[in-house]
């Protein structure tokens, strides 16, 4: 097991912290933002309220003082009252009366607060005001900066132009007005030019002069705006040319938000730290159990299934741990069961191996006897058995089928094997025939007193004479397959019925009859158990005799071993590879030694095939005398041999005319190959008579095809001439033949092809007569036409096929429609052209024996062009 990359607890901690950091961070940001927005509105409002408050207070103060001044001036005892008035009004530090005497203003009476003036003038005196200079007559309020004693001057003209009453307001009192807002805001009272009249700071001018001058020139009474990093409010004093200015720096305004932010960070850090600690502790607790589980799985992997985890928790991990411990115990139990099952299976396998030793070789040739068998058990051990022995002159055999299958039936086959082996030993001394063989076998099985019986056939072939003696104990009869190749398999099969006796083991004293049959050279004896006939497909249809005969027909050209292999494969394909009963097929072929002609090795044809081809599809049978070699196509170049290649090999092949292309492509694709490559032989991969085709292709360089096809075939010919109703003649001619082994309409296709070829020769060609032949063999029907001109070369033929394929429409001019050869090629299974240049051209169109139209259409058409005298 590998190392842990990033530990689970680290992942867990990181995820928790990331979530916490994200959520707290977002919350703080969001809260502060809202707070700032809210605070901002509040500060704006407060700023205006403060400025307004000062403005109103100042306006009221000034109006009130001017009113008082007027009241004092009208008092008849003004001389005495000003002292008491000064004493009452603590915000005043002086009351003065000035009179104009001869154009000059002189102070005629005054009272002042010496304690206050001495703060600014060491002498404590109150300097006179220059009335004319200060222009006091034009304004009731004078905001003097130049006086030694700071303060505002309020005046009232008692007698216009000659007497004026003045009161002076303490500057400190005015500053007090501003201090009510000083805690939060800074405030100033300024004039319309921006000159600071009262301020708590030392500057005499506003910091926001431009904004103030702009405000002053406008008709608005109040304004608040952000200037730089400060919030500034301006409010005009209603009855005087004064402006109250309040301002506050943004930093100060939002100091609470900053404080909140700071505290949030502290608080967040604290929470974060706590969560880190908690997350680490929790992750450790969680992963500790997982680590224990991991260690336990490693132990289980090493085979320690009894590992205990000691996890106490009741959560999912705890449940998993309990399940894990349970699983370990169950695995141990299962292993024990598997051991027992394996022991039993091994025993059955051993039994199977032992049973296999009871069977003979799959294929054996004993003198002039060839024997082969196929066995397919329904379970591990089968209840069928096949065996034989031979001596100098006799070949003795026994086939049996125990009722049922499996181990009990298999044990009985062991008895059969032992019985035959014993008989073999006895054979030297006693002349045992099939009848005695069965009787001995029966007495042995009957002695066992078991519930299982067997059906069986015992036989003996005299290898010299071919005489077959046999006895049957209720077994499927022997089928003799006669060596009469011109007939169909159905006609060649002769079942040896006789009178079957009781089953083996049924009755101890059973007597069996013996029969005899004379084999002919090449005859085959087929022995089967009923498993193959009762084999069912998914639709519960039985394989039956009909399909068995068809399979034998299809494999009739194969040797005994391949024949049985083919039949078994066909049967198992039919049943989707499932058999409920054991199947045994045995074949014994007797060859008459006096007639045997062993072909010498010098007659063998060596066929060189590309390695890219599937060897299973190119397995020749002994009848064809062909030896197949698989090689890399590069090696072909140096050899003068027959070559079989795949379509894909063509691009790498220099001399394509020597090749036999073994094609799995469609007819359309093959037409393209014929057009683009100089190929003379193309064989459809699904040709059922592949080696017959190859054999014919390789042996037809010095004779007409029809001469080579004569063997075992029925041939009839008619003469056709231009001007006759050839279609009618051909149709009637074809009606003479039997097509019962074919799909319904091969005659229609042969009619079509014959008419196309005949028309080409006698209507569009250079001759007025031709011969049409019909060839029928066991494997095919064919029509053959021949001209005696020999003008058709390969390219002309291929171009005509190509034209039809490419255009798929008839020519609008000319004698022919330009479709005939294309349609002919598409409708036959094999198209043969045998050309002797300038002498003759022979064309054969062949349809293979086939009951199914679909198979006929699925067959990839083979093309063969033979140029006489050329390989």
């Amino acid at each position: 097991m590998g190392k842990v990359g990033v530990p689970l607890k680290l992942k867990f901690t990181i995820v928790i912290l990331a979530l916490l950091l994200g959520s707290v961070g977002f919350y703080v940001y969001y809260a502060i933002d809202i707070f700032r927005k809210d605070k901002s509105a509040d500060i704006y409002n407060n700023s205006l309220v403060s400025a307004n408050q000062i403005s109103k207070e100042l306006n009221g103060f000034l109006l009130n003082n001017l009113k008082n001044l007027k009241r004092v001036s009208t008092n008849p005892n003004i001389g005495s009252i000003i002292k008491s008035y000064l004493a009452e009004e603590s915000h005043l530090f002086a009351i003065e009366i000035y009179e104009n005497k001869l154009g000059k203003w002189q102070r005629t009476q005054f009272e002042f607060e010496k304690n206050y003036t001495s703060l600014y003038d060491k002498s404590g005196n109150l300097p006179e005001i220059d009335i004319s200079k200060n222009n006091l007559l034009k304004s009731a309020v004078h905001f003097s900066h130049n006086e030694n004693i700071p303060g505002w001057i309020l005046s009232y003209e008692m007698v216009p132009g000659s007497k004026i009453l003045i009161s002076r307001v303490k500057i400190d009192f005015l500053k007090q007005m501003l201090t009510s807002t000083a805690e939060l805001f800074s405030a100033k009272i300024v004039d319309a030019k921006g000159i600071s009249l009262v301020s708590l700071s030392s500057t005499n001018e506003t910091n926001y002069k431009n904004e103030l001058l702009e405000f002053s020139s406008q008709a608005v009474r109040q304004l608040v705006k952000k200037v730089g990093d400060s919030l500034v409010a301006f409010v005009k004093v209603d009855d005087f040319p004064l402006i109250v200015e309040t301002f506050i720096s943004e930093k100060k305004a939002f100091s609470a938000a900053a404080e909140l932010q700071k505290k949030s960070i502290y608080f967040g850090t604290l929470i974060f730290s706590l969560v880190v600690i908690v997350a680490v502790l929790f992750a450790r607790a969680l992963t500790k159990n997982i680590q224990l589980l991991t260690q336990a799985t490693e132990k289980v992997a090493l085979g320690e299934f009894e590992t205990q985890l000691n996890i106490k928790s009741n959560d999912e991990i705890g449940m998993l741990a309990k399940s894990f411990e349970f699983m370990g115990r169950e695995i141990l139990k299962y292993i024990e069961e598997m051991k027992e099952k394996s022991r039993l299976e091994n025993e059955v396998k051993v039994a199977q191996l032992v049973q296999q030793t009871y069977f003979p070789k799959n294929y054996e040739k004993i003198k002039n006897i060839e024997t082969s068998y196929q066995f397919k058990s329904a379970s591990e051990c089968g209840g069928d058995w096949w065996g034989y022995y031979s001596d100098d002159n006799y070949f003795n055999f026994l086939i049996c089928d125990a009722t049922g299958h499996g181990v009990p039936a298999a044990l009985l086959t062991a008895t059969a094997s032992s019985a035959l082996a014993t008989m073999e030993k006895l054979a030297d001394k006693n002349d045992l025939g099939p009848k005695r063989m069965l009787e001995i076998f029966n007495s042995i099985v009957a002695e066992l007193e078991g519930q299982i019986n067997l059906t069986a056939i015992a036989g003996r072939i005299n290898m010299s004479t071919g005489e077959l003696n046999y006895s049957n104990a209720s077994h499927h009869p022997i089928w003799i397959i006669k060596n009469e190749s011109e007939k169909s398999i159905k006609e060649r099969i002769e079942p040896l019925l006789g009178t079957p006796g009781l089953r083996i083991g049924q009755h101890k004293e059973t007597q069996y009859e013996e029969f005899s049959y004379q084999l002919k050279n090449g005859d085959e004896i087929l022995l089967i158990t009923d498993g193959i006939l009762e084999l069912e497909n998914i639709e519960a249809k039985a394989y039956g005799q009909r399909r068995l005969i068809k399979a034998l027909e299809a494999s009739s050209e194969l040797n005994p071993s391949e024949k049985l292999s083919f039949v078994m494969k066909d049967a198992m394909t039919f049943s989707d590879d499932k058999n409920n009963d054991d199947i045994t097929l045995s074949l014994v072929k007797w060859t008459d030694q006096t007639q045997t002609r062993l072909e010498s090795e010098s007659n063998q044809i060596h066929l060189f095939c590309s390695k890219t081809l599937d060897p299973m599809k190119l397995m020749p049978t002994p009848e064809h005398n062909i030896v197949v070699h698989f090689e890399d196509i590069q090696h072909f170049l140096a050899k003068d041999k027959y070559l079989v290649v795949a379509p894909s090999d063509l691009q790498n092949l220099e001399n394509k005319s020597r090749a036999i292309v073994f094609s799995n492509l469609s007819n359309e694709e093959n037409i393209k190959i014929l057009k683009s490559d100089d190929v003379f032989h193309l064989v459809g991969e699904n040709s059922p008579y592949l080696f017959e085709e190859i054999n014919l292709a390789m042996t037809s360089f010095d004779s007409d095809l029809i001469d080579l096809m004569k063997k075992g075939a029925e041939i009839k010919s008619i003469q056709l001439s231009a001007g006759d109703n050839n279609s009618d003649i051909i149709e009637k001619f074809l009606k003479n033949f039997d097509f019962s082994e074919y799909f319904e309409s091969p005659a229609n296709y042969l009619h079509f092809m014959a008419l196309e070829l005949v028309n080409n020769i006698i209507m569009h060609g250079e001759v007025s007569k031709t011969e049409l032949s019909f060839i029928k063999s066991r494997n095919y029907v064919a029509i053959r036409v021949k001209d005696n001109v020999g003008k058709l070369d390969r390219n002309t033929i291929v171009d005509a096929i190509w034209r039809g394929y490419e255009e798929k429409t008839p020519k609008q001019d000319g004698r022919g429609a330009g479709l005939g050869l294309y349609l002919t090629y598409s409708q036959c299974n094999q198209l043969w052209i045998n050309s002797l240049p300038n002498v003759s051209t022979e064309i054969v169109c062949l349809i293979e024996s086939n009951k199914r139209y679909k198979k006929y259409k699925e067959r990839i058409t083979s093309f063969h062009f033979i140029l006489r005298g050329h390989v």
């Binding site: 249809k541 009909r546 109703n725 279609s727 009618d728 149709e731 799909f743 319904e744 309409s745 229609n748 296709y749 009619h751 079509f752 008419l755 196309e756 028309n759 798929k808 429409t809 008839p810 020519k811 609008q812 022919g816 429609a817 330009g818 479709l819 005939g820 294309y822 349609l823 598409s826 409708q827 009951k851 199914r852 139209y853 679909k854 259409k857 699925e858």
Partner: protein, 156 residues
């Protein structure tokens, strides 16, 4: 010359029914088709035994002589005609259709081939309909390659 092409023409209202029999070859004479004036013409191929490559040419040329706008239908097309239609272009002109045709089926139980007359509507999605053997009643196998055999239904 018994198998020479025969044509029997029958006009019912706006429809001309033409029954063809025999062989369609280079000698086939379709000159009568020029005169058809009905809106629809139905060719019955039931009795056609063969059509060769020259016959295909004659057929295609004759159809081009029909008056424009005539609706063409083929009925009872034998298997050999269907094969030619599938391999040669123009056998079914644009706008024409094969309304009924024979198709090969095979009965495993009886071990025999049966030709069944199908209608165009019997073959939706180019899948052969299930058919029972007329003798034993077992379900028969469609005995051709469906995509290949029904290819002609795309034409017209």
């Amino acid at each position: 010359m018994s198998d020479k092409l025969q044509q029997t023409m029958n006009i019912v209202g706006d429809q001309t029914n033409i029954q063809l029999s025999g062989i369609v070859d280079e000698d086939a004479d379709f000159s009568k088709l020029k005169g058809i004036g009905t809106k629809e013409v139905v060719f019955d191929f039931q009795k056609i035994t063969m059509i060769n490559s020259c016959g295909i040419r004659e057929w295609i040329q004759s159809l081009s002589n029909l008056k424009p706008g005539i609706r063409i239908s083929y009925i009872n097309c034998p298997q050999i005609i269907i094969e030619q239609i599938n391999m040669v272009q123009g056998f079914i002109p644009k706008g024409a259709s094969v309304e009924s045709f024979y198709a090969p089926y095979f009965c495993e139980s009886c071990d025999k081939e049966v030709k069944i007359l199908l209608k165009r509507s019997d073959v939706p999605q180019f899948k052969a309909p299930e058919m029972k053997c007329p003798d034993c009643g077992d379900t028969m196998d469609f005995d051709a390659i469906e995509s290949q055999y029904f290819n002609f239904l795309k034409q017209g």
